[in-house]
């Protein structure tokens, strides 16, 4: 690689990390403020925060148009999140990183299509639910899975449901959870689209940024 292209690459990397820092700070602000509010109201903060995060990441990924930008932002946001009074919390940090990963991969697959927001949103909110289950499964062992399955069977007989219908209820629950993420993804796509339009109008009018 020539010296010039090395310098260019390094400069591009710096701008990309600067963008990640700025949007990571924005996401960090949202996580700290809305997260604390939702936490105080005892609402399921994970799902709503994931949906908000997906909206922001989808919009930013579209706006910057750089692969893995969402993941970089997630890395920064996870670091900022660790500075909150709650300190280092691995659960929320893992959730933030997963959201970044989902948006990055979805954008590589679908680019600026609305599918990016939809797919990433659905996966992100479902993952927040699965994450807590997986953590508990890791901590308590496979016996916990057996307990959950037995409970499901008991619940089916208590509510006089046919065998297997309990799974349908669970699927409906996950569909509801996914729909919250999808809404976030669609809103993010809309914001990204509006921002791209504003930029295109700005370049047509020949105006420099500010």
């Amino acid at each position: 690689m020539s010296k010039k292209s090395k310098v260019e690459k390094s400069s591009n990397q710096t701008v990309m990390w600067k963008q990640a820092a700025v949007f990571g700070a924005l996401w960090g602000v949202i996580e700290i403020t809305i997260g604390s509010f939702l936490h105080a109201t005892r609402l399921p903060s994970g799902i709503f925060l994931a949906s908000t995060g997906i909206a922001l990441l989808t919009a930013t990924q579209m706006l910057t148009g750089k692969p893995w930008m969402a993941f970089r932002i997630a890395l920064v946001c996870a670091g900022v999140r660790a500075l909150t009074p709650h300190g280092l919390m691995l659960g929320p940090m893992a959730s933030i990183l997963l959201q970044g990963l989902f948006v990055s991969v979805a954008w590589i697959l679908f680019r600026n299509s609305i599918l990016t927001g939809i797919v990433a949103g659905a996966f992100a909110t479902i993952s927040t639910q699965l994450q807590s289950f997986v953590v508990k499964l890791f901590a308590y062992g496979v016996e916990l899975l057996e307990i959950y399955l037995q409970l499901l069977g008991k619940a089916e007989s208590f509510f006089r449901l046919e065998h297997g219908q309990g799974w349908i209820v669970i699927i409906f629950y996950f569909a509801f959870v996914a729909s919250i993420g999808i809404i976030g993804g669609i809103i993010g796509h809309r914001i990204g689209w509006l921002a791209l339009q504003m930029i295109s109008e700005r370049s047509k009018s020949g105006a420099t940024p500010e």
């Binding site: 700025v22 602000v29 930013t60 920064v76 900022v80 016996e143 500010e210």
Partner: protein
Amino acid sequence: MNNRVKFAVGLLLLIIVITGHRLPMIIALISSVVVGLTFERRVFRKIGKPAFWIFTIFVTLLAGSLLGEDSFKWHGIPISKEGVIAGLFMNIRAFTIVFSTVLIATSLSKERMLRYTQKFGLEQVNQAYESAIDTLPLVKDAWWEAQLEESGSILKKIARLMIKLMDYAEGEKIRRVKIFGITGCQGSGKSTSIEIIAKKFKDERKRVGGFYQKKIINEDGKSIAFDLVHFNSNKSIRLAEGEGRRGFTFDEESFKAASEWLAVDAKSSDILLVDELGILESKGKGHANGLIQVIRNNPEIVIVATFRKDKLKTLASRFLLSADNTYDHDKKGYLSDEFIELIKAELENKAALDETSL
């Protein structure tokens, strides 16, 4: 205990407990408690939460009633001995995993993590963290500016904010309008305060723009009209007329003239004074549009405005006035030097920024 040893012990305990053999699990639990008590008490922080204990009891009871063959009844619930033992071991596993993961996490210091990130070619992550922390207060300013510049839907405002942040990342400055507010009940001296501020800054050779409201009273001492007086030209224009219970009728032309004064003064003044924002402005009428245009076109101007107290909440959100920058006559009495100093500091700050950008 050395961080490396702590990490190794944590990892070893984790591996032992994951294997699932009961005797090593008990030994691992005892070891982790001893290590925790001796070297790292933070490992017990997690188990101090009631939710953890509730789940522990819940798991033991559920395991007792759902796993294994029934052997006795407890309050009518069939419980199996085998299930209770399985439940207890599930909890031993969970306790040890919590202890060992906390031990591993505490062994990983921030510096060490940064060293690892550098090792994997992510040396810019550290700079990005620092940059993000510097950016945090700017997000608020950028949002403020985006709201003023974009009159469309909330999504458009967010899109505008994102563009602003992207420009900032590429080296653009985030500018900010500073609005100071003076409020108080009718007759508390808001207009007088504006005049005091104007005189004070004129004496200091600052360029003062804008206008104040002058009450016209009849021989009986009743208010019959209000005029707007332009600070620069001393020209006055009738704002409203009226008498008695019918209230005042506003002259739309006066708002147009005031908007023009503001637009011209904003270009040539250091500070813009506006007296007053009330019911009409809270509905987006009166001086509202003229002032918003000025803010959009001159984002670095310092504005001092008087606000009607009964509409303060709506006006504060429309003009993004913060409580820190508001002087309330009813609470603090006559205008204090402290508030004037606050405005002066902002003007100096703005002048310093202008010099830097030059």
